[in-house]
Amino acid sequence: MSQRFIQQPLGPPAPTLAPTQPVSLHINGQAHTLYIAPWTTLLDALREYLDLTGTKKGCDHGQCGACTVLVDGKRINSCLSLAITHEDSRIQTIEGLGTEDKLSPLQQAFIDHDAFQCGYCTPGQICSAQGLINEGKAKTEAEVRELMSGNVCRCGAYPNILSAVMEVLHNEGLIMEDKAWSAGATEPEIAPVEPPKK
């Protein structure tokens, strides 16, 4: 004998949908109007509403830098910024830096230098490095390290990220260092491990 169970409500009915308002954003050269709640961060607007998932959500608290995007050419943490406050800004994400056919110099350098392992922090690293180049304050290795400290790489690809950024700074004539930064030009600091002999 079949029984029909009628599900009783488990709790109070769901509240009304969050109030949304139109927010106009200018992203990678394109204008968009989104209907979003005021508490939507720029990061969530990019990922959840525009499908621009290159920008990553790491810590969501401004500590890891995975969400770094460029706003009017300046790097910021999109996780700590409300989308609604960026109506007059020009936003650039990793998707807007280059195309698959024509990578930006930084994107190419990250590949050439093997500057990532899992790749999760990479869009943030590249956007941050682009911001660093735009700022024009870093002239030395030590300064690049310091001014890239807002981007954490848990795989520990820092030496290769550093050499990728240094190469681009060098190629664009932004630093004058004798050291050659092209991929493979520097000796690895740690000797490769010999396979065990049988």
Binding site: P38, T41, G62
Partner: protein
């Protein structure tokens, strides 16, 4: 995050009015601390007032030779402003010692003063905290206290103010300009932040609804002899365990004027004018610096896991004053032997 309404203010008066019209309203500057606190449910404003369009982002020379920092100028634009780099390099150093480039691009100068403690227990809703919930108790006392106060704490709160920028602003005798329901007024920097006492929920002396509009730096920037020394658990992008803003005006080897303020050690940037008085008129030697350091830490009280900060602070003061002195002076090579006690 709780739900809230948002409005973009178009002028200071409109922002203050909007604030008065909404219970539970808060001003939104760069958001680097407020949005984070909202995500943690530590802050739950019901109405946010955006300040971006107020136009208070200029950095301008004042007729008296000083410099006015608009409250909405970003920390990055302030640090790298040519007048700040040239005339107030101590402020440049302090700002660049804090946060990350991304955060400095967002964070505003007014907001830097308004940021709240990074006490772990303040952030942890599962633990009592008098600052978050007055009267509930202090979980830091008897807890893990590496980032907590050694000076000026109370039985109700041992939190520290986390700013680097504010330590330099305290040393430089900044004036805070505010606007509120009762008009405009100025607050001396030393009176802006407060000690916890029995009201640790109050970080500063702003009245309800008041908005910071600017920071006025006096003409004297101590650009020749200064140091911002920050000691922390990693070399970049970490809050200070102890930081020292030291600024000297030297006549030969004699100290004509001195400023000394510490960060990471108290509920407010800890400026010590009595220690400054011990420096003024004295030769710039390690003995002089040690005497000033001893004065600053008189009455310091460790909380257990932060006891090390008392000795660390003393040594940091001596080192910062030495760095400030040595910037452009060839000193007697023996003057600083054994300068680290």
């Amino acid at each position: 995050m709780n739900t809230f309404t948002f409005s973009q203010a178009t002028g200071v008066a409109a922002a203050v009015q909007d604030n008065a019209a909404h219970d539970g309203a808060a001003y939104l500057g760069g958001g680097t601390n407020l949005i984070d606190l909202m995500k943690e449910n530590v802050a739950r404003p019901t109405h946010l007032i955006g300040l971006k369009k107020l136009g208070l982002d200029a950095i301008e020379n004042l007729p008296d030779g000083g410099l006015r920092l608009g409250a909405l100028a970003t920390n990055a634009d302030t640090a790298y402003h040519p007048e700040v780099e040239k005339r107030y390099p101590l402020l440049n150093q302090a700002i660049l010692a804090g946060a990350s480039p991304q955060l400095r691009n967002m964070a505003t100068d007014g907001g830097n003063l308004m940021q709240r403690t990074r006490c772990y227990y303040f952030y942890d809703l599962a633990t009592p905290c008098n600052k978050r919930e007055p009267g509930s108790g202090c979980s830091a006392i008897g807890g893990y206290t590496r980032v907590h106060a050694i000076l000026g704490a109370s039985e109700h709160c041992i939190a520290t103010h986390p700013s680097d920028m504010c330590v330099a602003l305290a040393a430089l005798d900044t004036t805070v300009r505010v606007s509120g329901p009762n008009g405009e007024r100025t607050i001396k920097f030393e009176d802006f932040h407060r000690l916890p006492g029995d009201q640790p929920e109050r970080d500063n002396t702003l009245e309800p609804g008041e908005l910071i509009t600017g920071l006025d730096l006096p003409a004297k920037g101590f650009e020749k002899n200064f140091s911002y020394l920050k000691l922390r658990d990693r070399t970049s992008y970490a809050f200070a365990l102890v930081s020292v803003a030291a600024a000297l005006e030297l006549d030969g080897n004699t100290i004509k004027d001195a400023r000394l303020a510490l960060g990471g050690v108290a509920h407010k940037p800890w400026r010590d004018k009595e220690a400054e008085a011990l420096l003024i008129g004295q030769p710039a030697t390690a003995d002089t610096f040690r005497a000033a350091a001893a004065k600053v830490l008189t009455g310091a009280k460790g909380q257990g896991t932060n006891n090390f900060k008392i000795e660390l602070a003393k040594r940091a003061i001596v080192r910062a004053l030495k760095q400030a002195t040595e910037m452009n002076q060839a000193l007697d090579a023996n003057a600083f032997q054994n300068s680290n006690p």
